[in-house]
């Protein structure tokens, strides 16, 4: 295993930040392994993404604008990745640890007879040996797991685990041959809910609300302005998603998203274990809760015991003032 191959995930031409994080990290890993760093980008808008990737330190970007990628559920992506992997040879394949990233990784594992490590946050390289560092059991332990040298290895990598830096880009953009035309699972309809928002897993700041907010309105009137002031995104507990106050795509926790922002603010969330496992690795954790004994206090850097409805607007105001946007 010498080379590194990145799957550049995007949605019809809209990139994810993690793609650039992986493109940057691929260089570091390839240099330690003594090989090349490459990326694969396919589907409508792939050409534009390849251009955006060009400033990053890659050796090659394999690209195909095939619109069939958007017509079938992941099968074409898996085929293109397999094709690129066989061009590059035994390599470490970096896939973002997202909903579709996990689906792709499992299927590619079989196609390439590869080892796989999930939710990787760091790598250790010695010679050709690759060890992946990843939290397991909801962050209760951190494991170091080795891939077999000489074979394909797949790592699904947690967003926000690495820094993106656009420098030293000399990549050639190469056309991948077009894959098969038809597959069994056809996408009839693709609907975005909550468009234009910052992707939750990639946000540097997450302001999350729970049952304590009592309804959908406070997510709009309290949390959104605070998130906006801090340049972050809004998330939620399962109780809030179950109540229908926010879409499930905002749910954080064991059965929702895992987030690791630099700052996590939990508003009216008790801190159940299933919520905790989705956010405990955040940089700083602040909780606002009217109950001083809420479990969230046990893993927060700061717990403010009080009424969220009165504290949050004051806080947003203080931040806006400091930024010179006094109201």
């Amino acid at each position: 295993m010498k080379n590194v191959l990145v799957y550049a995930e995007h949605r019809q031409g809209a990139t994810r930040k993690v793609t650039f994080e992986l493109a940057t990290q691929a260089r570091t890993l390839a240099d330690s392994l003594g090989g090349k760093a490459c990326a694969v980008v396919v589907g409508s808008g792939a050409g534009a993404i390849a251009q955006q990737l060009a400033p990053y330190p890659l050796d090659a970007i394999y690209c195909n604008e095939d619109s069939q990628v958007d017509a079938f559920l992941l099968d074409p992506v898996v085929d293109y990745l397999e094709a690129a992997a066989s061009l590059v040879g035994a390599s470490l394949i970096l896939i973002p640890n997202t909903l579709s990233g996990r689906d792709i990784a499992g299927r590619l594992m079989v196609k390439l007879r590869a080892g796989i490590v999930a939710d990787v946050v760091d790598f250790e390289i010695a010679g050709e040996s690759v060890v992946c560092v990843s939290p397991k059991l909801g962050g209760a332990i951190t494991t170091r797991c080795a891939l077999r040298p000489g074979e394909f290895g797949i790592a699904t990598v947690r967003p926000n685990a690495f820094q993106a830096a656009a420098s030293g880009g000399t990549a050639k953009i190469e056309q991948l041959p077009t894959a098969r035309r038809s597959y069994a699972a056809a996408i009839d309809n693709d609907v975005e809910e909550g468009t234009g928002e910052l992707a939750l897993e990639e946000a540097p700041v997450v302001v999350a609300g729970g049952r304590g907010l009592g309804g959908p309105e406070p997510f709009e009137t309290l949390l959104k302005p605070l998130a906006r002031a801090l340049g972050g995104a809004v998330g939620a507990s399962r109780a809030a998603a179950d109540a229908g106050w926010v879409p499930y795509s905002l749910q954080i926790g064991q059965t929702g998203k895992t987030v690791t922002p630099n700052l996590y603010i939990a508003v009216g969330i008790s801190g159940a274990i299933q919520h905790k496992v989705g956010m405990r690795s955040s940089g700083a954790i602040v909780a606002i809760n009217k109950d001083g004994a809420a479990p969230i206090g046990e893993f927060s850097d700061l717990l403010v015991v009080g009424d969220a409805f009165r504290i949050v607007p004051e806080l947003t105001n203080l931040i806006e003032k400091a930024k010179g946007n006094a109201t």
């Binding site: 689906d103 170091r144 077999r148 056809a186 693709d190 975005e192 700052l263 893993f299």
Partner: protein
């Protein structure tokens, strides 16, 4: 129609999880074994389909688990599954995702089915890679995160969650589905179900019957855990009582300043 639902047996999700430093595996002694909660949603989906399709539709549970734990599957039979098949063999111990999916796929091939329903994640080690791997081994269309399932003329129409919304996907049978938790809460077993489950069959499948051409267990795995450790501890947090909202807001503001978030 024949539906197979895969179920993993996991240590009680509410129990404290520990790893044996010698074997590097999860300590299961003293911890109750239960059905992986995510797989109960898969079973619910299978049972609802059975009710809708009717006729001679059967729901079979498949599990790869130590033989000693197989009675845990009675709960799934009590919920309404018709029978169960368990792949157990000491040689499977220590299998990683690759080896697990490989062995499961070979056993599943022997249970002929029209639809394979898999839970979205496992509670004890979630790589989320097994469903995709099974679909690839078995050559099935793979539709994950289903929250609504329609079936007509042997064609599935699935509403599935994505991380920005949802998609409608169409695929012919045979196929593999995974369920999202929004599919609907799993049912409880009725008293009649519990009584009836006692008579239902739990078949055992041994590795020898599968004539595998590669190893499983640790030897057949492509990854090896070298070490593990608890994560770096978070320092003791601070609690501020804020009966006065302004004081609460400025406590947070000062913290954000100190940490350079503003």
């Amino acid at each position: 129609m024949k539906i197979v639902v895969t179920m993993k047996l996991v240590p009680d999700p509410n129990a404290e999880k520990k790893i044996d430093p010698q074997t590097k595996r999860l300590v299961r002694t003293g911890v109750e074994t239960v059905l992986n909660p995510y797989d109960e949603y898969a079973l619910e989906a299978g049972l609802q389909l059975k009710e809708r399709v009717g006729g001679d539709t059967r729901v079979t549970i498949f599990s790869m688990a130590p033989d000693a734990l197989k009675e845990t599957l009675r709960r799934a039979l009590a919920m309404g599954a018709d029978d169960a098949a368990v792949l157990s063999d000491p040689a499977l111990e220590g299998s990683d995702v690759w080896a697990t999916a490989y062995a499961m796929a070979h056993a599943l091939r022997r249970l002929e089915f029209d639809l394979l329903i898999v839970g979205g994640l496992t509670d004890d080690s979630s790589t989320g890679a097994v469903p995709g791997a099974l679909a690839e081994h078995l050559g099935l269309p793979c539709i994950t995160n289903a929250r609504k399932i329609e079936l007509a003329d042997r064609t599935l129409t699935i509403e599935r969650e994505t991380d920005v919304g949802y998609q409608t996907v169409r695929a012919p049978l045979p196929a593999l589905l995974t369920t999202a938790l929004t599919f609907g809460e799993p049912r409880y077993a009725s008293l009649k179900g519990i009584m009836g489950a006692k008579k239902k069959a739990i078949a055992s499948i041994g590795l020898a019957e599968l004539s595998l051409d590669s190893a499983v267990g640790s030897d057949g795995s492509k990854t090896e855990i070298e070490s593990f450790a608890p994560p770096a501890a978070r320092g003791q947090g601070k609690t501020v009582e804020a009966p006065d909202a302004a004081a609460g807001a400025s406590a947070i503001f000062d913290f954000l300043r100190e940490r350079k978030f503003v």
